[in-house]
Symmetry: C2
Subunit: 318 residues, 2 copies
């Protein structure tokens, strides 16, 4: 039997057929550019993509054991509903029920950060571990929490929003409307803001040249200059890592997981990011003497993370 | 069959016999004043108290289905070990194994904050709920996390230390050695510090008279004066409640539990404490529109909380 993993993002929907070991046999993409004009369009789009995927891969629908969907936004996985999606106006969409009009196999949906964490536990950097937190540093700060090998969701799937822990009371404004959230300091958006401020304060910094060459300031700008020995960039990176560590220390003290994974494009910085993070979190954590050494690792499933996470949801749910 | 619940604190050990419905049939106390001079003394003391309890209550040991122990400090409940106890020098004590030299029924041990949370779910203010956080405001800030009706402990039982989340990066020093922990702002020790500062700044405040009358500044001083209309005290209480709310917002966003309970002596302030807390946490929380209304309630098991929590651990573990 095979599984279908579907990754619904703001700009596109990706779908892949996998086996139970996480091999992606075939994948296909639908570019949507956020144009989900009506509430029900999203189910029709997903359905069309499933049909296309099966045709292209020459696999019969009867060979599909289950379909998993990883979806941005607030998802009620128990009821198969998109509560809402802040990027695209959409509320209370019964995706699973709607898809069952066309597809009879079991269908599961969950938040994209949750399925990414599950995917890493089943196929990726946390294979063999079952108490794991995946923190995704991107436009925001996402979190997926795996407890006893299962996704922790909170009531109505509205939990696991660790990006909205406070780390600086009354601090920087956050997109959620509150001040001082971890996301307002540790997201790549925040890093870009921090980088731009340092570029303005240090016109001589290599960050300016790198940004000019790349045509933009992005999450890599400061890291690239810091690795090249630029002092101002090293300060930006060191302070950014302190912000990331601040939230990880809280999560370490609350959850004491077996492992933290760092996802998002910035995780490609590898040990340049995770080694100082491990040092800072170890220094700040409660009860250092008990248990195994702290582990902070980059996530491993890069390009296919969304598809494999959604497939892992399907595999673990049936 | 009956159960024994044992509450091991710094100054005394309390033990009670209960039935499965949480009725305490008999209880007894051993005052220790922290004099656990050798590592093994604690097991001997607990054993002696069990013998005394059974004699006084006229119940045969064969009628005891299980014994539960709630113990301050870092506890590895899976292995039945006190990892360490910061108040009293004690490390790696195999309490359960040692007690089995005298008692053959199943024996379970867990952190006192954890069993208190379980006790509230089984017998107290959260009866019928199974995703609950109990936050105990005392000398420190303790937390007990119940997920799916079970205690969440983290690896080696070293998790559930929400008092050591950061809320003000690089803020007030905490007893754990770090700065800015929730405990450094929201514990009763912190409230006393905040009260003393306001008393010095406002010599005319009723807090000064109340403290003189009570012979000390304690957790009630500011609340008492605030209820009587004292402006400076109202500011202390309002700011303290903001600190408590700051941590609760983070926990709400991470866990989205069915209910928060507030324990510790200060919980006797009831709605005067919980109503403004609910308002602030609701204002600050992520995704307000999904799910049931936020619930923050005072813990209900006051004097027998330790015994009933430990008994609940025994009842739920066999």
């Amino acid at each position: 039997m095979y599984y279908i993993g579907i990754d619904v993002g703001g700009m596109s929907i990706k779908a892949g057929v996998t086996d139970k070991d996480g091999n992606v046999l075939h994948k296909t993409t639908l570019v949507t550019k956020g144009e989900y004009t009506k509430e029900y369009t999203i189910s029709r789009d997903i359905h069309a993509l499933i049909v296309k995927l099966l045709q292209e891969s020459n696999i019969a629908e009867s060979q599909i054991a289950a379909i998993g969907i990883g979806q941005a936004g607030s998802i009620d996985s128990a009821r198969g509903i998109i509560n809402y999606w802040n990027n695209i106006p959409m509320k209370n969409v019964h995706v699973v029920e709607e898809l069952h009009a066309w597809h009879s196999c079991p269908i599961f949906i969950d938040n994209d950060a949750n399925v990414a964490a599950l995917g890493e536990c089943v196929f990726g950097a946390a294979k063999g571990f079952d108490n794991v937190l995946l923190i995704t540093l991107g436009t925001g700060v996402g979190s997926g929490i795996i407890i006893d090998g299962k996704i922790y969701r909170g009531e109505y799937g509205a939990g696991a929003e660790a990006g909205h822990m406070g780390i600086v009371m009354d601090g920087e404004p956050c997109t959620c409307g509150r001040r001082g959230c971890w996301e307002a300091y540790a997201s790549v958006s925040a890093l870009i803001r921090q980088t731009k401020a340092a570029m303005a304060a240090h016109p001589e910094s290599q960050m300016n040249a790198i940004a000019a060459q790349m045509g933009e300031v992005n999450g890599i700008t400061s890291f690239k200059a810091a690795r090249a020995g630029d002092r101002a960039a090293q300060e930006v990176v060191a302070q950014y890592i302190r912000y990331v560590a601040e939230g990880l220390i809280s999560l370490q003290n609350i959850f004491r997981p077996q492992m933290f994974l760092i996802g998002g494009g910035i995780s490609k910085e590898g040990e340049y990011l995770t080694a100082p993070l491990e040092k800072l979190v170890y220094e700040g954590m409660f009860d250092k003497e008990t248990g195994d050494p702290l582990k902070i690792r980059p996530a491993a499933l890069h390009n296919d993370a969304g598809i494999l996470g959604a497939a892992a949801l399907a595999i673990k749910s049936v």
